[in-house]
C-alpha cells in the first residue's frame, strides 16, 4: 500500500476563475507532506484535486496531470468514484453521518459499496477504530450515534472511517483547525502512526503543526488577491523551516508576510 503522487503542470479553475496555476510536485509513499500558505492560495483546492473531490463543486475543473504510481487520475476512463476509494479524505469539520451508529459510520465506505459480511465488517471497524486511537473510548457504545461524541472524537471517527476503506493515500484538509490543543495532539500522534501505512497529505494553517508532523512541506502563495495561487517551493520540512530557498517562504515562516 501507499503510493507516490506526482502532480504535473496542474491548473485548477472554478468556472472562469483561474484558482491555481502550474503546480508541480511529488509526494513520496509513506511520508507526511504538509501544504502551508496564506488563506486563498489554493492549497485546499490542490488537495481536493488529488482525489477529484473538487469536481463536486459545480463549474470546477482542472488541466494537467495527477499521477498515482504512474496512473493519471484524470486520464480517459478513470472513474472518480474509484479514485476516491483509493485516495481518502478527512475534512476540516468532523462530519460523521448523524443517522448512523458509530460502528456503521466506520464501515460506511465498505457497507455502502457492497460489503455485507457483518463479522468481517465488525473486525474492520475495530481495526480502524484502534488505528484512529478511538477504540478504547467508544468500544462500549458502538451502537450510539456518531453525533454523541466530542468534537475531537468525531474527527478521529472520521479518520477511522477514512482508513477503514484501506486507501493508498490519505488527504487531510485542516483536520485540527476546529479542535482544542489536546484533541489536536491526539490527531498529530495519529498522523505519525498513519504514515507507516499510508501516504499522508495534510493542509494546515498551523506552521508548528506542519513542522511537528510532516517530512516535507510545500509552501503555496498568491501574488495578489484575484490572481491564481501557485506553489512557491516544496522541500524537506527541516529545510523549509530553517533555510528556505525562496524569500517569500522565509517571510511567511517568520511572520513577515504581507
Amino acid at each position: 500500500m501507499a503510493k507516490r503522487i506526482e502532480v504535473k503542470d496542474l491548473n485548477i479553475f472554478y468556472g472562469d476563475f483561474h484558482a491555481v496555476e502550474g503546480v508541480e510536485l511529488t509526494v513520496e509513499p509513506r511520508t507526511v507532506t504538509a501544504f502551508i500558505g496564506p488563506s486563498g492560495c489554493g492549497k485546499s483546492t490542490v488537495l481536493r484535486t488529488l482525489n477529484r473531490m473538487h469536481e463536486v463543486i459545480p463549474g470546477a475543473y482542472c488541466t494537467g496531470q495527477v499521477l498515482l504510481d504512474g496512473t493519471d487520475l484524470y486520464g480517459k476512463g478513470i472513474d472518480p468514484v474509484a479514485v476516491r476509494h483509493t485516495v481518502g479524505m478527512v475534512f476540516q469539520r468532523a462530519n460523521p453521518f448523524p443517522a448512523m451508529s458509530i460502528r456503521d459510520n466506520v464501515v460506511a465506505g465498505l457497507r455502502l459499496t457492497g460489503a455485507k459480511n457483518k463479522k468481517a465488517l465488525d473486525e474492520v471497524a475495530e481495526h480502524a477504530l484502534r488505528g484512529a486511537n478511538l477504540w478504547g473510548e467508544v468500544k462500549d457504545r458502538l451502537d450510539r450515534s456518531g453525533a454523541s461524541l466530542s468534537g475531537g472524537q468525531q474527527q478521529r471517527l472520521c479518520i477511522a472511517r477514512a482508513i477503514a476503506v484501506q486507501p493508498e493515500v490519505l488527504l487531510m484538509d485542516e483536520p485540527c483547525s476546529a479542535l482544542d490543543p489536546i484533541s489536536t495532539l491526539a490527531i498529530e500522534d495519529l498522523i505519525n502512526e498513519l504514515k507507516e501505512e499510508f501516504t499522508v497529505v495534510i493542509v494546515t494553517h498551523n506552521m508548528q503543526q506542519a513542522a511537528r508532523v510532516s517530512d516535507r512541506t510545500a509552501f503555496f502563495n498568491l501574488k495578489a488577491q484575484g490572481e491564481p495561487g501557485h506553489l512557491v517551493e516544496i522541500d524537506s520540512t527541516e529545510k523549509i523551516f530553517s533555510n528556505p530557498s525562496q524569500k517569500a517562504t522565509e517571510d511567511y515562516i517568520s511572520g513577515r508576510f504581507g
Partner: protein
C-alpha cells in the same frame, strides 16, 4: 423614541426607577389589544371543537358507529364505517401515487439539478401548483376522466384530483428537508468512494427521513379533509364498499355535504362524521409532530 421626562430639571442622580406614565399606559393598551386579538383568534377554534365534540361525541361513542354503514332503516343504528374506510382508502391511494412522484422529483431537483435553470422553472411551477384551488383540480380531473376519456366518477378519479393537491406540498417540504442536509455529509460520502445514488439513499435520505415523513403526514392530513374533489368526482353512498371503481363511494366529508343537500345538516350523525374527520386529521398531525420532534432532537436542536 424617547418619552417626555417627568422632571424637566437637571438630573443629578441616575434615574433607575419605574418607567414613565405614558410608557406604562402604552404598554398596558397594547397588551390588552394583543390578548384580545389572541382570544379572537383562538375562540372560533375552541368553539368549533366544542360544537363538534358536544354534538358528535354521542354518535362516535356508539359501537355501531364503527361497525355499521348508513343502510339501516333505524337512524340510531347508523354508523360511519363505510365513510371512514372510504376516506382512509382514498387517502392511501393518493399517498401511494403522490409520495414516489414527489420524492423522486425533490431528489432530482435538489441532488441533480440544483442551481440549474430547469430546477428554478420546475420550482416555480410547483409553487404555482401549491396554490391551485381544490375545486379547479377536481374540475380538471372530471374533464379529463369523464369528458375526454369517457370514464366515470370513482374513488380513483377523486384520488387523482387529490394527487394534484398532494404532490406539490410533499414535494416542497421534501425539497426543503433535503436542502437542510449539510453538503459536508455528501462530501464525506463521496470521499469514501461511495456513488452518488448510494449517497442519496444511504446518507442523505436517512438523515432527513423524519422531516420528509412529517411533510408526507401533513400533506396527507390536508388532502383527507378536502371536499370539493369528492363532491365532483363521487356520488354519495350509504352502503359499505371497498371498490374504488364505483361512482357511489362514501367518505366523511361527503356525509356532511350530502346531508346538507338533503336539508338535514345539523344532526348527530353529521356531527359524528365531522368529529371523526377531525380526529383522523388531528391524529395525522400528532404523528407528524412527534416524528419531527424526534428529527430535531437528532439534528441536535
Amino acid at each position: 423614541m424617547s418619552s417626555t421626562s417627568d422632571n424637566g430639571s437637571v438630573i443629578t442622580s441616575l434615574e433607575l426607577t419605574k418607567p414613565s406614565g405614558p410608557r406604562l399606559a402604552r404598554n398596558g393598551c397594547v397588551s390588552v389589544f394583543m390578548v384580545f386579538a389572541t382570544v379572537l383568534a383562538v375562540a372560533p377554534l375552541v368553539w368549533v371543537l366544542w360544537s363538534a365534540i358536544s354534538k358528535g361525541i354521542g354518535s362516535m361513542l356508539r359501537a355501531s358507529w364503527w361497525t355499521n354503514a348508513m343502510d339501516s332503516a333505524d337512524q340510531a343504528k347508523w354508523g360511519a364505517l363505510h365513510a371512514i374506510v372510504g376516506t382512509i382508502q382514498i387517502g392511501l391511494i393518493t399517498a401511494v401515487i403522490s409520495v414516489p412522484i414527489a420524492l423522486l422529483t425533490a431528489i432530482y431537483l435538489v441532488e441533480y439539478a440544483r442551481g440549474t435553470k430547469m430546477a428554478r422553472v420546475v420550482s416555480f411551477a410547483v409553487d404555482v401548483l401549491t396554490g391551485v384551488p381544490s375545486i379547479v383540480a377536481a374540475l380538471f380531473i372530471f374533464a379529463l376522466v369523464v369528458t375526454t376519456f369517457g370514464g366515470h366518477q370513482s374513488a380513483w378519479a377523486a384520488s387523482l384530483a387529490l394527487v394534484i393537491l398532494m404532490v406539490p406540498t410533499v414535494l416542497r417540504s421534501t425539497e426543503e428537508m433535503l436542502k437542510l442536509v449539510p453538503d459536508s455529509l455528501r462530501e464525506a460520502s463521496f470521499a469514501l468512494g461511495i456513488t452518488k445514488w448510494r449517497t442519496i439513499v444511504s446518507v442523505v435520505l436517512p438523515t432527513s427521513i423524519s422531516g420528509i415523513a412529517t411533510g408526507i403526514m401533513l400533506g396527507l392530513a390536508r388532502v383527507m379533509g378536502e371536499t370539493a374533489p369528492l363532491i365532483l368526482l363521487l356520488q354519495f353512498n350509504q352502503y359499505f364498499t371497498v371498490n374504488p371503481n364505483t361512482p357511489t363511494f362514501a367518505t366523511l366529508p361527503t356525509i356532511i355535504s350530502n346531508a346538507y343537500t338533503q336539508g338535514s345538516a345539523d344532526t348527530p350523525t353529521v356531527w359524528g362524521a365531522a368529529l371523526t374527520l377531525i380526529v383522523l386529521v388531528m391524529g395525522l398531525n400528532i404523528i407528524a409532530k412527534s416524528i419531527s420532534r424526534r428529527y430535531l432532537r437528532r439534528m441536535g436542536k
